[in-house]
């Protein structure tokens, strides 16, 4: 081996070498080469951002709002976030001291982890879940520890499962309900049971509630609204899913003052502030976007019912997810593993779904079907999946 090659091999950090690129990316590369493909693989709304929000952003540009904002974001926006959190979820956060506007909820997760976790700590991660959590924990030098959820509890976290996963080194837990990819939600009572264990073991909570508005059967419970939990909770939310603003990269984080100050240090040195024009758009979203959100939620609701009822009819058993915009059926009936299922379905029927194992332990044997897609396409996708499953299911005709 020449010296140059050796140098090249060593120039990456140990931390970054230790994490894998997202499994979604590999699948994306395959799917994006297919023509006439119906994608149920998209983790974002099929709606375009409401016009009033886009218009407000354009106006801010016309008026010349192109400079930095305060590190924590426009105070006006933080005040609107504070009001919104109180109205929608009954939690009170001080706009000056307890809220930071971030570059998407993803940055908020990174800030929460980096501000509170030391090398050697363990951070519990409810799985299956969003692909970013574990890598971000690893990058912070800590160890992600999966806490499994499965179909027996409709992918809800139970106190028992949590208790089993806790060790002396457990420092924090990432909760993510409504969940991507399972669609699971937790009721207030179910969260209280978990909160009891969290209290007992003195854990911090990173509660990623980006899908909070997309709760279909009962109102969402913010984790910090649970008794005694506010002081140990870092609440993460954003505009991407509820307001169809994924590309704007705008989220926010609410936390006790000491943690907010710590997170703000990282945020100010790494990002300075979230994009100014996106903040102006977000302000309008909070002021007048409520009706649009309602319409979108109503539309996801009936699509959810349609796809879940259809999948069950086809023989892919699927619980009725209470939130987000994903159905997470078991593909056990086909005898395939989830990677094979997803690849074959894509190649044979041109429908893209995401293999469940991409979302960590517990995801295997399932696929994630996003129903953030128009009804017409959903119907065609269901027809294609039905044909596919029929072809690949070995039925015992004599029974």
């Amino acid at each position: 081996m020449s010296m140059t090659a050796k140098k090249t091999n060593n120039r990456l950090s140990k931390a970054v070498t230790s994490i894998e690129p997202s499994g979604i990316r590999k699948f994306f590369e395959l799917a994006s080469t297919m023509e006439d493909c119906i994608s149920l693989g998209v983790g974002e709304p099929d709606f375009v951002t409401p016009w009033n929000v886009r218009e407000a952003c354009m106006t801010s540009l016309e008026q010349g709002y192109t400079a930095y904002t305060a590190n924590a974001g426009l105070l006006e926006l933080r005040m609107a976030i504070s009001d919104y959190m109180e109205d929608a979820f009954d939690v009170t956060y001080c706009p000056e001291e307890e809220i930071i506007v971030t570059v998407g909820a993803s940055e908020a997760i990174d800030l929460a982890v980096r501000a509170t976790v030391d090398p050697g700590d363990e951070v519990l991660v409810v799985t299956p879940s969003f692909v970013s959590y574990s890598p971000l924990i690893t990058l912070a030098g800590a160890t992600p520890v999966p806490v499994l959820t499965d179909s027996s509890t409709n992918f809800k976290l139970t106190a028992e499962r949590l208790e089993e996963a806790i060790t002396d080194r457990s420092r924090a837990i990432i909760l993510s309900f409504p969940n991507n990819p399972t669609g699971a939600v937790m009721t207030k009572a179910e969260l209280e049971a978990v909160a009891h264990v969290i209290q007992k073991h003195d854990l911090l909570v990173f509660s990623d509630e980006i899908y909070a508005e997309l709760s279909y059967d009962e109102p969402h419970t913010a984790f910090s609204s649970i008794n005694d939990m506010k002081d140990r909770t870092i609440l993460i939310n954003g505009f991407s899913k509820a307001f169809a603003m994924t590309g704007w990269r705008l989220g926010f984080v609410c936390a006790p003052k000491d943690i907010t100050e710590a997170m703000l240090k990282i945020h100010q040195y790494s990002l300075m502030c979230a994009p100014t024009q996106a903040q102006h758009g977000a302000l309008e979203a909070l002021r007048s976007g409520g009706d649009e959100v309602k319409k979108m939620v109503e539309s996801y609701y009936s699509r959810r019912n349609y796809i879940v009822n259809s999948l069950n009819e086809i023989g892919l058993s699927c619980h009725m997810p209470g939130g987000s915009f994903y159905a997470f059926p078991s593909i056990e009936a086909t005898g395939m593993d989830d990677q094979t299922f997803a690849e074959k379905l894509l190649l044979e029927e041109k429908v893209a779904v995401v293999p469940g194992s991409v979302f960590g332990e517990g995801g295997e044997g399932h696929v994630r079907c996003s129903y953030a897609t128009g009804m017409k396409q959903l119907q065609t996708a269901v027809e294609r999946i039905e044909r596919f499953v029929k072809r690949h299911t070995k039925t015992n005709l004599s029974s």
């Binding site: 099929d46 969003f130 699509r303």
Partner: protein, 165 residues
């Protein structure tokens, strides 16, 4: 079916009157039978009045239509207010919509016809000659950008990536 579900059903039908009943039942998470019964009842009660398609007639050769909105001032009549004159106006087949308005005029009459002359003749011969009608102001529609919540001629390209987290 609950009132809430019934409203959902109506909203879905309003968007797509041709929707397959089985698909509709799945969307509502209800039995097909319940959905059929509810629709029948809503039809009987004249809650659902008709199932119409939204058509861009400009794309159909020889079938392009002219339309006008006519602001009409009328004298309301004792006992029946605007209803009697409205009732007379709405019977003309040329009238596609009729609304009572607040503001500087009383009735807004939507008229559709094959030619501009036809619409003009309707206004001068039929509408203006009604006893209760005091004045009319006719506005011809030049272009349809959006109708019943549907945008005409917008490309519906999905700008998202095929797979994302």
């Amino acid at each position: 079916m609950s009132k809430e579900q019934e409203t959902r059903l109506l909203r879905i039908l309003e968007q797509n009157g041709r929707i397959d009943t089985e698909v509709l039942a799945k969307m509502l998470d209800e039995d097909v039978e319940t959905v059929i019964q509810t629709i029948n009842r809503l039809e009987d009660e004249h809650v659902i009045l008709s199932y119409a398609a939204v058509i861009n007639w400009n794309k159909v050769e020889q079938e392009s239509q002219v339309a006008a909105m006519i602001d009409v001032k009328v004298t309301p009549q004792r006992g029946v207010g605007f209803d009697e004159v409205a009732n007379r106006i709405q019977r003309f087949p040329e009238v596609s919509a009729l609304y009572l308005m607040s503001g500087t005029y009383d009735l807004s009459v939507m008229v559709e016809g094959q030619t501009m002359e036809g619409v003009a003749r309707f206004v001068s011969d039929k509408l203006s000659t009604l006893d209760a009608v005091l004045s009319t102001t006719t506005h011809f529609r030049l272009k349809k950008y959006k109708h019943d919540g549907i945008v005409f001629g917008e490309d519906e390209k999905d700008r998202r990536m095929v797979v994302s987290p």
